[in-house]
Symmetry: D2
Subunit: 257 residues, 4 copies
């Protein structure tokens, strides 16, 4: 059946004190779900309040985007944490953001883990379980947002979490449905026309072409975009145009389950 | 009317990673309410989980004990934060602890601010308001725990918060109901017999004798104790003995309003 | 006697991890001395290495720019630290930067304190002394860079430090030679022509006109500029043009003592 | 030839702010070299000053004990840092400590890396090289202290560093000269008599018996001890007694090269 609704998600609220990151004020107008930094890898209490307010103003749903306690590395460096530690880091961060969301009169929609946590989830099932447990214990109705076809999706489902699968619009894929490492040339797509073409293929055929030319079927209800460069804004606008051309409307992921 | 119930509160959960502080495992058996560190001045996510579990095991009610973002100074150094910053620091910390408390099947009972925040509250009404707003926005039923007769009590009441007033068992008082600075000799009472005598006077007459010999009437529903030295444990046990001798039972502050 | 040499100093190296601040790569080409962040309020070890390398490449002298341990507040919020704590914070930061500078084959030139430390120095003589002691103990030949005519200048001189006085090119002055607070309209000058005019007056007459129209004589060997906005670059270029028009050449402050 | 001199080294200065760790005031009287925390995994500027002063008072030589930027994990959790990042973290920390040491009128003697850095050094040659480069660039005369017979020893020697090899008095060994993991029963020796026996064997025969009963020859000029429990103090005293019984005197490692 033809897809008529999809979610667009983007990381935001990753500024810290005087340090500004991302074009949140612009991006927020273009997406339906925001993954908001929770103060460990990026974001701070004041940024969290402002980002939630921004999301509310623009009718965008809010999810937690917890990371490793490594501001210096922006949560992008794997750390050998135990599942128990990681679970508690997630509860702490999700709980903190949930307070800001509820004070703003909204409901926390989802959880999407940041940076190295995503990488670590791929390799360590017990860490994925720990993060899913944190999510479920905070609220069993929270959506767990994860890479289409990934092990994290299967684990989260086995734990009865609401799962939404996402596809990355501007990243190349390997044949095993993983993202091509940023260190490999061609991993990040900067050309908005090319990204638009991929989205067209995704909507019409439900497939992505991998970096080595294979055709991959991917289930998804959300498309992940980035918003930290002016070029990224252009890409998001192209994606939205492509979606509109195909009569696909934007909806926060919660409404797509 | 003779007092038959009182709350005993104590700071705990202020360890951090490998750094251990306080005799929480002993103190928890002796009190009715725990003020739990929230990760800024002390405490970390794992410590928070364990402290909440400890409180639950011993039937002790849990409150948030937010502090300044100054782990190096243990939250004891005043910082020129704005009311907006401070409000968000409190929401973040209280929200994070609330998540652990609710996951443990309990309800967050109260908020008591830590260290320099307490000092700053005395001098800056707008900062007290900011902290009270954070508390009220998280949950208007949360108890605001503050020094008996202080300006923070008046401000919190004017904002319709549930206020519980506390007396410090082991600290000397000035005539204006403030605590004598730790830098003044005699500010901290280390003799359990002397503390016991003060508690006796407080129960029987509702008064405290100030450091300069005046008699001060103090309303209270909670007595604050400390638990970071073996001597402190002896003092708490003496206080409990004195309360028992006067048929005063312990109850978490929530049940005393 | 007509001034023929002057130093231009600017803060840099205040990025942190993924967070970029300032236009260091552009500014470095325009100045003679760099005040380099040391990791407390901004800067990190990797940024420090890169900033020192940049300075070396462009023949710019390096000074330490220590701050309060408050990354979240960018070192701009006063903290009630003791002189002993502050002295050790300065030694730590200056020592760390000195290592990078010496490894690059250079000599650390000066110390200029950051943000709230500067404000605190004005009000608390014992804190200024603590910072000067740290500087002197690291190396008695280090230059102490401070506001022209300030108490910090007098204190540093009384402690036998090499002092260089600086004037702020883009900030309004009060009659007591202090900077007008950023909260006051007109405190920051954004118009490069206006700044150029002030520099002209400074070179020709050795005076600055205060915000309330008085004429102030200011001794100086360095002019402080800012480099965090494209407009700031324009201002620095105007200052350099004005200096060139008056045959004033740039020299690192060390060579002006 | 019979050994007549040996160094005893111990980690210290790992307290942080209000958090106290270790029995430094006691241990310092019993050792000849102190590995001093540098503020990343433990230690802070004030603790560093005090620890250096303590070492000076007792004629103990000082080395830097740099760690990962992970105070929450006490530097014991591996982090995927790059060699470039790690080198700069080491320069920063060694440089900071060196300042305190030189201000105290001493010379920095050695570098010994902490916790997970030690583990990571075993697995990643390029990280060991990065740490050795940092040490050499700070000062090529600094001693590199490492496990007897380890790869880090070979790498450091190939880079022309002064290497001192150490044996752990209170830890069990594997046949490949690595320490038995703390998670394995018997990894840590708590019985002072047993440790004394091992030291006797080491002095007399130059060998250690591994956990599986093999005899291992180990070159060494330093013995590493721990000082964070009262039992640890007893062990150090026993070691000193055994050394004295064999007419082996203590000397800082620098004097043994």
């Amino acid at each position: 059946m033809k897809k008529t609704l999809v979610d667009l998600n983007c990381d935001m609220g990753e500024s810290f004190g005087r340090y500004k990151l991302g074009l949140d004020e612009e991006v927020i107008k273009l997406i339906s779900s925001a993954n908001v930094g929770c103060g460990f890898h990026g974001g701070d209490p004041h940024v969290m309040r402002n980002t939630v307010a921004l999301a509310r103003e623009h009718g965008v749903a809010v999810g937690a985007h917890p990371g490793l306690p490594d501001l210096l590395g922006f949560g992008r460096r794997e750390m050998k944490v135990t599942p128990e530690e990681l679970k508690d880091y997630c509860i702490y961060q999700i709980g903190a953001l949930k307070a800001f969301v509820e004070i703003a009169g909204m409901k926390l929609q989802h959880v999407k883990v940041h940076g190295a946590l995503d990488t670590m989830a791929r390799a360590h099932e017990e860490l994925t379980r720990a993060m899913c447990e944190a999510t479920r214990e905070i609220n069993p109705n929270l959506v767990w947002l994860a890479h289409s076809g990934s092990r994290a999706v299967r684990i989260a489902r086995s734990m009865d979490l609401n799962v939404v699968q996402e596809v990355y619009a501007d990243r190349a894929y390997n044949a095993d449905k993983s993202l091509v490492s940023r260190r490999v040339p061609g991993a990040v797509l900067n050309d908005s026309q090319e990204v638009g073409g991929r989205i067209k293929q995704l909507i019409e055929l439900g497939t992505i072409t991998t970096i080595d030319g294979q055709t991959l079927e991917l289930e998804y209800d959300s498309i992940c975009v980035h918003g930290d460069t002016p070029g990224a804004l252009e890409i998001i606008r192209t994606i939205r145009g492509t979606l509109a051309d195909h009569d696909v409307a934007l909806k926060p992921m919660m409404e797509l389950i």
